[in-house]
């Protein structure tokens, strides 16, 4: 078996006397979508913070393609892990395009002096970043609003913009923290299609969600976190039938959940063909970024 793209090994996080995470392990294989569910306060976001270097795990380690990730958010991003936030955290006074271009930061090479001297390399890099950012905005279905200030966007669009900004860092792994929170069913469905499209481009995804129908119809495998501990992990079929999960989290007879999920899956199958023809996938022709970081 090949090395997983992202692997968390026995990650524990202790705040004072509170054990927020206890020996949580997770493997993410390339091109897969893993769901992370659990009741409020189970430690899902804390786990994300450990994965992105915002927290340094008390014990345990996080590996990207077999290498231990540094405990510094900027370096983790450079290495190829990007994320969105449960509470949207865009740069409110920057334009939509500029927000995405900040995501492009680590893949551009211009140092502080390059733009003062305005060399051809600077012009080229800036143009490439602009084009790639516009392309990503189209990919997340936000075309034509590049110059709008981020804070003026409707809620659902802000969530999509966050995803575009995260994708701009050319991640190997994308972490989505409740991407459909506060969305209506149509927007939720669009987000699901978007995540599937992202997976098609070869990016592996970890997604935190409370909407279990969304999770079960989207993910290749699901991990359930309860009180900082990994309760179950496995394929959606296995997880949603697990009595412990049903008791701890779902609170519904498995048959009922089953029926709802089946309906969703069916719906996707019908949607799938239509969505594929309309979604424009940004093709990365040059596997190398515009340049190394200065």
């Amino acid at each position: 078996m090949s090395t997983p793209v992202l692997e968390a090994r026995d990650v524990s996080m202790v705040f004072g006397g509170l054990k927020a995470l206890q020996n949580v392990s997770l493997k993410l294989d390339e091109g897969k979508v893993v769901g992370l569910i659990g009741p409020n306060g189970a430690g899902k976001t804390t786990f994300f913070n450990c994965l992105t270097g915002l927290y340094t795990p008390t014990t345990g380690s996080v590996l990207l393609k077999g290498d231990v990730l540094p405990g510094d958010p900027a370096k983790v991003t450079t290495a190829g892990v990007a994320r969105t936030f449960q509470n949207i955290r865009l740069f409110p006074s920057m334009t939509v395009l500029e927000n995405v271009m900040v995501g492009r930061h680590v893949r551009m090479k211009q140092g502080p002096l390059a733009s003062i001297f305005h060399g051809p390399g600077y012009q080229k890099g800036e143009r490439a970043a602009r084009e790639r950012s516009a392309e990503l905005l189209e990919f997340v279905n936000l075309p034509g609003i590049e110059e709008e200030l981020a804070r003026n966007l409707p809620y659902g669009d802000q969530r999509r913009l966050e995803i575009a900004r995260a994708l701009a860092t050319d991640p190997a792994v994308l972490l989505l923290d409740e991407p459909t929170a506060g969305m209506n069913p149509q927007e939720t469905e669009a987000t699901r299609q978007l995540i599937l499209a992202i997976r098609e481009t070869g990016v592996s995804v970890v997604v935190i969600e409370h909407d279990i129908k969304f999770i079960f119809s989207l993910c290749d495998s699901v991990s359930v976190l309860v009180q900082g501990q990994l309760l179950v992990e496995g394929s959606p079929e296995v997880v949603r039938r697990d009595p412990r999960v049903i008791e701890a989290y779902l609170g519904k007879p498995p048959d009922e959940v089953e029926a709802e999920v089946q309906a969703m899956v069916e719906e996707t199958r019908q949607h799938g063909d239509a969505a594929e023809s309309t979604t424009v996938l940004p093709v990365v022709t040059d596997p190398k970024p515009e340049g190394e970081q200065a």
Binding site: L54, Q110, P112
Partner: protein
């Protein structure tokens, strides 16, 4: 009437000078929410650095050739200002990055006093004001009743040019975007791969470079410099930054020209003359703080660079 026009012209020159310094205050505040009270001293050491360069580095043969000596002196002044700012950031402010906001503020005051006394004690004969070479740009521009020295015109030109360049840099470059992102949300910027240390250092360097230019040009304009000049002009620049809205680049420039005009006009027309120009500047500051605390171009929340 001709007095008024003359004072307006003087005010614009003053404003140009203050703008170069106010930009440093406003940028540093935008990024780390620190009023760097030692920034006036960065301007002062720029002037002394320029003087030292002229005295000991510029060869005797080209001392009177302004288009050769002035660039060298400018580079010298800027180099000294930037070096001091880098040391200041590294050793005085960075260790206090996560301390309560009051700690770096008090430290800034300490650094300010330290630098003044350091230059006064260790620069040769600096206990009194020193003459600054006036050879660079001699003569005056005369338009009707207005006379402005060419050094003043140079100050205005350089100030406007650098302000526009800075604004463009911050809006259109990779590092400029990183600066604005850091100003708006440092943690998220970090998660997008922006190295905060690099952004902070760049901010100090840009501010110091402008202050260094201002220091040298101030010397050529007034032909003498002293160790208090940073404190005095720094207060004007700080007021200008607050007036324009601390954190706003455009605000700092507009605020600086308003302060420059208030200073010269009050000195001419208000009772007490130039001795009381401070008073009127602080009246402006108080009015701003009471009626528009976020300044002319500031936003109520901290979301700009």
């Amino acid at each position: 009437m001709s007095t008024l026009l003359q004072q307006l012209a003087n005010g614009v020159v003053q404003g140009a000078l203050i703008a170069l310094i106010a930009l440093g205050y406003t940028m540093v505040y935008g990024i780390i929410q620190l009023i760097n009270f030692a920034h006036g001293e960065v301007f002062m050491v720029g002037a002394y650095g320029g003087l030292a360069t002229y005295t000991w580095i510029v060869p005797e043969s080209v001392k009177d050739v302004w288009y050769v000596s002035l660039p060298i002196v400018l580079v010298g002044g800027v180099a000294v200002s930037v070096a001091i700012a880098l040391l200041m950031e590294r050793f005085a402010y960075r260790p206090l990055r996560n301390a309560p906001r009051l700690a770096p503020l008090i430290t800034a005051l300490g650094v300010s006093v330290f630098l003044q006394e350091f230059v006064r004690n260790f620069y040769p004969n600096a206990t009194a004001a020193l003459p600054f070479p006036g050879v660079f740009v001699q003569g005056q521009l005369v338009i009707g009743p207005i006379r402005v020295g060419w050094s003043g015109i140079l100050l205005i030109g350089v100030s406007v040019l650098l302000s526009i360049a800075l604004q463009t840099y911050i809006n259109r470059s990779r590092m400029g975007r990183a600066m604005r992102a850091t100003a708006q949300d440092p943690d998220t910027a970090k998660l997008m791969g922006v190295n905060p240390d690099r952004v902070i250092v760049l901010t100090f360097v840009l501010g110091a470079a402008l202050a260094g230019v201002a220091g040298v040009l101030f010397g050529t304009y007034l032909n003498n410099i002293n160790t208090d000049m940073g404190f005095q002009t720094g207060i004007f620049a700080f007021t200008a930054a607050v007036l324009g809205g601390v954190g706003s680049i455009r605000g700092a420039v507009v605020g600086a020209f308003i302060i420059g005009l208030v200073k010269t006009l009050a000195g001419q027309y208000m009772p007490g003359g130039t001795q009381y120009d401070y008073v009127w500047i602080f009246v402006v500051l108080i009015l701003v703080l009471v009626f528009r605390p976020q300044g002319l171009f500031g936003e109520p929340e901290r979301v700009r660079a």
